[in-house]
């Protein structure tokens, strides 16, 4: 699993699509935001991650459009 449980990542880039980008920004996913991965669904997709104190379910294909960098421990 790429997104290990409790691993913390930083948002580097957001998708180009205007609508999806703004939806993410509204949820608090801006460049520089930290995202902490929690549960993975039993079938491997989607995953739950915490952004600014709120939990969201992300489908992996949606996450792929966001540029993420894993924080060093």
């Amino acid at each position: 699993m790429k997104y290990e449980k409790n691993s913390i990542w930083t948002v580097m880039t957001l998708p180009e699509e205007e609508i999806f980008k703004t939806r993410l920004e509204n949820l608090g996913l801006t460049t520089g935001a930290r995202i902490t991965f929690k549960e993975t669904a039993p079938l491997g997709n989607p995953v739950i991650a915490v952004v600014r104190g709120t939990s969201y379910a992300f489908r992996l294909s949606a996450l792929e459009k966001i540029g993420l960098k894993r924080n060093e421990l």
Binding site: L27, E39, P42, G44
Partner: protein, 571 residues
């Protein structure tokens, strides 16, 4: 004074609004339950409840509607309701609201819950940093509402950066100065280990769904019977009274037409209310959002997402209510597909019908009813894999904290659900059942006649050939399907009148099966159709209706053909 309540989805705005204005709007532990602004009064003041929004700038319908509303209306006070657990995210909207330069109060909601999670918020610092009034309230427990209205604060003069990322950075900074967190493993996290765990999630899911559906049909059946004893007694009294006062035909219209219509609705009303109660329980606890999370992967195969699962579960109560619940689906293509497949779920009006058929033809078969639900889900997949269309990819959805639902919250929600359901059935189903009554009791020259020569009998004599390929050969099968448009409970009513309570006069076990399958899959009742039309618009609605009929027809015909073939092979 004109007061507007604004805040993120699922922050408790509507609970506060209901308490302030003593109204009963629908609330729930998931995002997007309020979809249109609501107006209410608190003494002299007008209070408006906006749909939940994350910001004012952005393209989604709710956000645009909220922004337009704030521009259009003269507002004296903005109450920004905030779930303190999610202060950091909520402050983004707050900064935008403050820029409206109107008197603003921050209502910090759910403080007691946050305290249990080890989150402490320093209101004074927050108030100083934002330049506006801050009040701790508890919308659920009626705490400190007067503080919100006590005095009109001056508008904030703070300036915030215009760039989204830096504005959020400001919010983060403010938050880090006001909020103290002591890490505790919350109740929600503990229970999620089981609810979302790799090996436990699906067993729990199926156990929950099975017991909910079982309880609904069991309790509903019991309550329905008790209810119908009472209504039958009452109607007999009313009939007696009517026949002594009115002319025979008018007495018959009211007695047989209107009262039977009301009676048939009354009979399945308990099932519906009980189903709504369990739905409210699932929703309040936060499990509904987790179901969306668990089932997203399988639904993605059909180009849908986990949000569709939520609407399908609501559809087990009533297709029309489920139609309104699809508004939280942000993707238009997915929403349309979801609306077209809602009626595959056995709604609470169809349930008594199926239960009666199972009892009559497959007695003691406990798998028959669950099998119908599975068939419904299977058809949702079939239909959507067939029409496929644009693929939905960007599934992102808020997962609220799991909590023990409060009984008052659940009951209030059940009441709200039932009220809107009752309003709908009282109008549409009522009119439709009078219409069906006329079809059954009059011939084409509008003379009173018995059912054998009624308009319905003549029409279904012609229509029955249409239903031959799906395995329905009797004209009364066709008649019942046609009458089902008024409301699925009238199907049982019509069959009851014709068969005089003995269904085996009309059906063989195999044609009973074809009949149940066709009722399950055929387009929904008039009330649900009008809800679908409202959600889809005229043109798309017609396309959807055509698709529903075509799918039901082809699927049932294929089923019938296969069953004939198997019958021929094995006999």
């Amino acid at each position: 004074m004109r007061v507007v309540l604004a805040g993120n989805p699922n922050c408790g705005k509507t609970t506060l609004f209901n308490k302030l204005t003593k109204s009963h709007f629908d609330t729930g532990n998931r995002a997007g339950v309020t979809v249109e602004e609501a107006e209410g009064r608190r003494g002299e003041d007008y209070v408006y409840d906006l749909p939940g929004i994350y910001s004012l700038t952005r393209p989604s319908n709710e956000e645009k509607a909220a922004d337009d509303f704030l521009r259009r209306e003269k507002i004296d006070l903005i109450i920004n309701v905030i779930d303190v657990k999610y202060l950091e995210r909520s402050l983004f909207l707050t900064t935008q609201l403050l820029e409206k330069r109107k008197p603003t109060v921050l209502a910090l909601n759910m403080c007691d819950e946050a305290e249990k999670l080890g989150i402490e918020t320093d209101c004074e610092t927050l108030s100083r940093l934002l330049g506006c009034k801050v009040a701790e309230i508890s919308a659920k427990k009626d705490k400190n509402f007067d503080k919100l209205f006590s005095s009109l604060p001056p508008p904030s003069e703070k300036v915030f950066p215009s760039d989204v990322a830096s504005r959020y950075a400001v919010c983060e900074k403010i938050c880090s100065r006001c909020v103290k967190r002591t890490e505790k493993i919350s109740f929600s996290e503990k229970i999620d280990k089981v609810l979302l765990g790799k090996h436990t999630a699906f067993p729990v899911f199926f156990a929950v769904m099975f017991s909910v559906l079982f309880l609904c049909s069991f309790l509903g059946n019991l309550a329905g019977k008790a209810f119908s004893v009472v209504t039958e007694y009452l109607f007999a009294k009313i009939n007696l009274f009517l026949s002594s006062r009115l002319s025979p035909s008018l007495a018959s219209l009211i007695g047989d037409g209107v009262l039977t219509g009301v009676g048939s609705v009354a009979e399945f009303l308990p099932v519906t209310v009980i189903t709504f109660f369990f739905l409210a329980l699932l929703e309040e606890s936060g499990y509904l959002a987790r179901i969306a999370f668990l089932t997203d992967r399988p639904f993605s195969v059909a180009g849908l997402s986990g949000r569709t699962a939520i609407s399908l579960i609501v559809a087990c109560g009533c297709t029309a209510s489920a139609a309104a619940s699809t508004r939280t689906i942000p993707d238009d293509a997915e929403r349309e597909k979801c609306l077209c497949s809602l009626h595959f779920m056995p709604c609470s009006a169809k349930l008594p019908l199926f239960a009666t058929f199972v009892n009559a033809f497959y007695p003691g078969n406990y798998f028959a009813l669950p099998l119908l639900y599975l068939t419904g889900v299977f058809c949702v997949f079939c239909l959507n894999i067939l029409i496929r269309g644009k693929q939905m990819q960007d599934f992102v959805m808020e997962i609220p904290a799991q909590k023990i639902p409060s009984l008052t919250g659940v009951l209030r929600k059940t009441a709200a659900f039932s009220r809107s359901f009752f309003r709908r059935t009282c109008t549409v189903v009522f009119v439709a059942s009078i219409f069906v009554w006329v079809l059954i009791n009059y011939d084409f020259s509008f003379r009173k006649c018995d059912i054998e020569s009624s308009m319905l009998a003549v029409a279904s004599e012609m229509a029955k050939y249409l239903f031959y390929p799906v395995g329905l050969t009797d004209k009364w099968h066709a008649a019942a399907v046609i009458a089902g448009f008024a409301g699925k409970e009238t199907v049982l009513g019509v069959l009851g009148v014709i068969s005089k309570g003995n269904l085996s006069l009309l059906f063989t076990p195999s044609s009973a099966l074809s009949f149940c399958l066709f009722i399950l899959l055929s387009p929904p009742c008039a009330a649900a159709c009008s809800a679908l039309k409202k959600e889809l618009g005229g043109k798309k609605f017609l396309r959807c209706l055509g698709l529903q009929f075509l799918f039901a027809y082809v699927f049932c015909a294929a089923f019938y053909a296969v069953s004939l073939l198997l019958g021929a092979v094995f006999s």
